[in-house]
């Protein structure tokens, strides 16, 4: 940096250092202070609002459960036993196999593909339809 350039704005080097560090320090401190205050306030009201909403939700649920129990005791006749479906050990029912086979046929054309085995892929923690939605929405990037 030549002196000519530095003097162009009419300030000495030490003045330039002073001004720069004042702005940098003020900027850092104010921006971080304002945003940290916002973090604290938002975290606090987030907790207050969600706990208040959870309480009212719990109350509603308790009321609904009590009403349901009262109705159940009124009914004397026992409800018919639900039909139980026994799922195979690998978690695949015939219906699921049929749906997968139909999807494969629809994609590759009837008779063009053969299903040898069906294995569950490792889950990413999201339901399959949610996963499809995310892939669909983020595909352009």
């Amino acid at each position: 940096m030549d002196l000519k350039t530095i003097m162009a704005a009419g300030l000495s080097v030490s003045e330039k250092f002073n001004i720069s560090f004042t702005v940098i320090l003020t900027g850092f401190v104010v921006v971080f202070t304002v945003l940290i205050l916002l973090i604290l306030i938002i975290a606090a009201y987030g907790k207050i609002v969600s706990s208040a909403q959870n309480k009212s939700k719990a109350k509603k649920e308790a009321k609904a459960a009590a009403e349901k129990a009262a109705k159940a005791t009124e009914k004397s006749a026992p409800a018919p036993a639900p039909v139980q479906k026994v799922a195979p050990s690998n978690g695949l029912t015939d219906e699921i196999v049929a749906v997968i086979a139909a999807a494969v046929d629809s994609t590759y054309g009837v008779g063009n593909a053969k299903i040898k085995s069906i294995k569950k892929s490792p889950s990413s923690g999201r339901p399959a339809w949610g996963q499809v939605g995310v892939i669909d929405n983020t595909r352009p990037f």
């Binding site: 300030l11 720069s20 003020t26 900027g27 304002v34 940290i36 973090i39 987030g46 969600s50 990037f141």
Partner: protein, 416 residues
């Protein structure tokens, strides 16, 4: 002969007032620059909504500089005026000035079209109106769900202040250095707002630099993000954000504006409009005006802002060494902001024992939603099943608030 003379006079007058005679070489260079911007906007689709009107304003002002001309007062000799206008002395409404014993009418001449439209930029009206629209389109849910994102939004503003240092030592004044630094916020309306107040003479180069870098986010950011993070860090999966209730979303804009306006009144026009737009959206009771703010109003203001900011880039103003310095310093500001965001992301990653992916830090530079998309894309390159988009939206929208706060700091500490 009278007809021929009149004809020739008319033709000579037309030629003399035409661009071929009155324009300098700088204007033609700027016309070429506007063609490059047209190419980037139309063929490459780089921020076309703003770049296209901006390039057109640049083209227009360099072909016809009077379109940006300010109104003025012309002194016309009273006797001359009355000769050419068939009016009585009493019916003329102009004020008079007496010079050397002669009476002159003060005849006002009107400014060019873009001069009047430019007043919205000069008076700081358009950028807050754009923020109103942005507020009405933004979902602050990811930020409310993870308020720690504000730290990343603040960290990414550090580039602004470091660049101020560089600009001062490159010979710019304090006000100019502040305006150049704000390019690092990667927020076009904020950059224009600050520059219109601190250094209106640099508006053209700063706006062009700010919008160009915003458009180049997908090219500039990934190498910095990759250089500052390890493969393992980039592959970190973040846990799903908690759902945010409607009540929380309604309270958010009110809390933010109360705090910001009290602490930093200079940031109130930008943050205030941003939060008003957001409250209109989240309250759900004023759908009609929320939609107007998001669409019609935003579009109209974008046209005016783009054309008039482009019209500040006249050849003589733009084609200077300072423009190159501004473009270079803007790039440095932008890179430093990205780097600071990623480094704070790394710090948060360490403090949370690996729960935060540092890539979301780069989204703190605003440039909504492109910077968040870049975080998502770079994260997915390491792990295709990783979805950082919503996590990155937190710092991204925090960056909008952060850059407005940084703008408020610059406006309050720099004398102007």
């Amino acid at each position: 002969m009278g007809i021929i003379d009149g004809f020739l006079e008319g033709i000579i007058g037309l030629v003399e007032s035409s661009g071929f005679v009155s324009l300098g070489w700088q204007n033609y260079v700027m016309v070429a620059v506007s063609f490059v911007l047209f190419y980037l906007a139309i063929a490459k689709e780089y921020e076309p909504l703003i770049l296209l009107p901006l390039a057109f304003g640049m083209l227009l002002v360099n072909l016809c500089p009077s379109i940006m001309g300010a109104p003025s007062t012309e002194f016309v000799l009273q006797s001359e005026y009355l000769k050419t206008h068939d009016v009585a002395t009493q019916s003329v409404q102009y004020a008079t000035t007496v010079m050397n014993g002669e009476v002159y009418y003060n005849v006002p001449t009107y400014g060019g079209l873009l001069y009047y439209l430019y007043q919205g930029v000069k008076m700081g009206i358009y950028p807050p109106l754009i923020f109103l629209g942005i507020g009405a389109m933004t979902d602050f849910g990811p930020l409310i769900a993870n308020p720690k994102s504000f730290i990343l939004g603040a960290a990414a503003q550090l580039g602004i202040f470091f660049t101020f240092f560089g600009a001062i030592f490159l010979g710019f004044t304090q006000a100019q250095a502040g305006s150049i630094g704000i390019i690092g916020g990667a927020d076009g309306p904020t950059a224009i707002f600050v520059t219109s107040k601190l250094a209106p003479d640099l508006l053209g180069p700063i706006a062009v630099a700010a919008y160009s870098y915003m458009a180049l986010v997908p090219i500039i950011q990934p190498p910095i993000m990759k250089a500052l993070t390890t493969k393992k860090e980039r592959a970190i999966k973040m846990s799903q954000l908690r759902p945010v209730s409607k009540l929380e979303k309604i309270i958010f804009p009110i809390v933010v504006i109360v705090l910001v306006a009290l602490l930093l009144p200079d940031a109130a026009p930008l943050v205030g409009m941003l939060m008003l737009g957001n409250l209109m959206k989240e309250s759900g009771v004023v759908d009609r005006i929320a939609k107007t703010a998001q669409n019609e109003l935003m579009n109209i203001v974008t046209i005016f802002l783009g054309v008039t900011v482009g019209a500040t880039a006249t050849g003589t103003v733009f084609l200077q060494l300072n423009t190159l310095k501004i473009i270079l310093l803007g790039l440095i500001a932008f890179c430093l902001g990205t780097a600071a965001g990623v480094l704070f992301g790394k710090l948060m990653c360490v403090l949370t024992k690996g729960k935060v992916n540092p890539l979301i830090g780069s989204a703190g530079v605003s440039a909504v939603p492109m910077a968040a998309r870049v975080s998502q894309k770079v994260g997915q390159q390491e792990n295709p099943t990783n979805y950082l988009l919503m996590h990155a939206m937190g710092p991204n929208v925090a960056g909008v608030i952060g850059s407005a706060v940084a703008a408020g700091v610059l406006l309050s500490v720099i004398p102007h």
